[in-house]
């Protein structure tokens, strides 16, 4: 992405050679400077990538844990939205019964967190956390309000595009993924170092949800869909349940 007027010390030019990998020492994201490891990563034997990870099928998930709009006596302010999609592996196979955790700012762009003190209102009816397990087809579904954009101290007049944080486990230990889901057409995309730390523009699009009229609820909620694709874990991982 080259946008006139964008400081290239904040947002580096596109580089499709990165593919889906994020550049972990991205200079425009200030917090990486003292935190991104500098030594080369050590390669593990291939079989390590096949080891199973934790399974959370026994977690006591409440029936409203997927609905961020019904966790308090009143309803939160903002645009009510349904966010749904599937969790898949690279071969397109659904990852069933896997834990999906989300967290987000409220409609005003404020997190229910003591560290976030920027001058936007908290919403007494919104904590911004949800969780669910995927169903047999790998589907997840949340009901929430659209989060607002918010300023952060990374550089002068820095704003994060609206996003929802996602944490997913998958099946193999190394399928673990923490990422952020964005909303289509956000005008802040060209200016955000975190979004642009994925330097391949096609891969960035994989973090952007799609407005989906078919999932909207008339008179009630807009809808966005977003599929999450996890690595294989290992090429040879058997998926006996799919046999």
């Amino acid at each position: 992405m080259t946008v006139p007027g964008v400081d290239t010390s904040i947002v580096l030019p596109d580089d499709p050679s990165f593919g889906p990998e994020v550049q972990i020492d991205y200079p425009g994201y200030r917090s990486t400077r003292l935190r991104a490891p500098k030594s080369p990563l050590v390669t593990l034997p291939e079989e390590f990538h096949a080891i199973d990870g934790p399974v959370f099928g026994d977690l006591p998930i409440g029936e409203l844990d997927h609905d961020l709009t019904r966790q308090f006596a009143g309803e939160p302010l903002g645009e009510r939205i349904v966010v749904s999609g599937r969790v898949l592996d690279e071969d397109g196979r659904p990852l069933r019964n896997t834990l999906v955790e989300v967290w987000q700012a409220n409609a005003a762009g404020r997190y229910h967190h003591q560290v976030d003190q920027h001058p936007a209102p908290l919403d007494p009816n919104f904590a911004g956390a949800g969780r669910c397990l995927t169903d047999d087809d790998g589907n997840y579904r949340f009901v929430t309000v659209k989060p607002g954009a918010y300023p952060w101290g990374n550089h002068e007049n820095a704003w994060r595009p609206a996003h929802i944080h996602f944490s997913v486990f998958g099946r193999a230990f190394t399928q673990r993924l923490v990422t952020q889901m964005y909303f289509p057409g956000d005008p802040l995309f060209p200016f955000d170092p975190i979004f642009n730390s994925v330097r391949d523009p096609k891969s960035r699009e994989l973090m952007v949800s799609t407005f989906d009229l078919s999932q909207t609820q008339p008179e009630w909620a807009l809808a966005f869909t977003w599929d999450i694709v996890l690595g294989r874990g290992a090429a040879a991982t058997p998926f006996e349940e799919d046999a």
Binding site: P20, G128, H165, M207
Partner: protein, 161 residues
């Protein structure tokens, strides 16, 4: 058909909203006769504490998992039992580290001190002495200590994943 993978993004400074409701740092009951406290600090390139990090630990043999956020001093802690070794591998925990400023989580391992199998473990024994020392916990007052250095001369070994 191969689908393109969804890229990683940082866990950010507010992860406790979504990930701490199920914070459980006990991979074993403290009442277990083999229970050990395992604790340490997550430190940045200036050896300052990372106060908004998250450490997840997995014992693949015993199928025990836990996560611990770091406090203002960068401290995390777990209750663990030493996992069994397996197939020539020394007992270990597989560990992911998350933090603001880490655009992707980092993978490391915690090995246990004084284990004869440490000398023959295929991963540990392939490392230099200095590298190896970053992956083996140290006994400390009846507990185990394992600091994680994200950068620096004594950077913890991280693995590709």
């Amino acid at each position: 058909m191969t689908l393109p993978k969804t890229p990683s993004q940082t866990v950010g400074p507010y992860y406790t909203i979504g990930l701490s409701p199920w914070s459980r740092n006990e991979l074993a009951s403290p009442a277990d006769p083999g229970a050990l406290r395992l604790h340490g600090q997550l430190l940045d390139g200036e050896r300052q504490p990372v106060g908004d990090g998250l450490v997840e630990a997995w014992d693949r043999v015993g199928r025990r998992w836990g996560r611990s956020g770091t406090d203002a001093d960068g401290r995390f802690s777990f209750v663990v039992v030493k996992p069994d070794g397996s197939g020539g591998e020394a007992p270990r925990l597989d560990v992911f580290v998350f933090a603001r400023g880490l655009l992707r989580h980092q993978l490391t391992r915690i090995y246990f001190p004084g284990e004869p199998a440490n000398d023959t473990d295929p991963v540990l024994s392939a490392l230099s002495e200095d590298e190896r020392s970053t992956l083996v916990a140290e006994p400390e007052d009846g507990a185990l200590r394992f600091d994680i250095h994200l950068q620096g001369d004594d950077q913890t070994v991280f693995f590709a994943h």
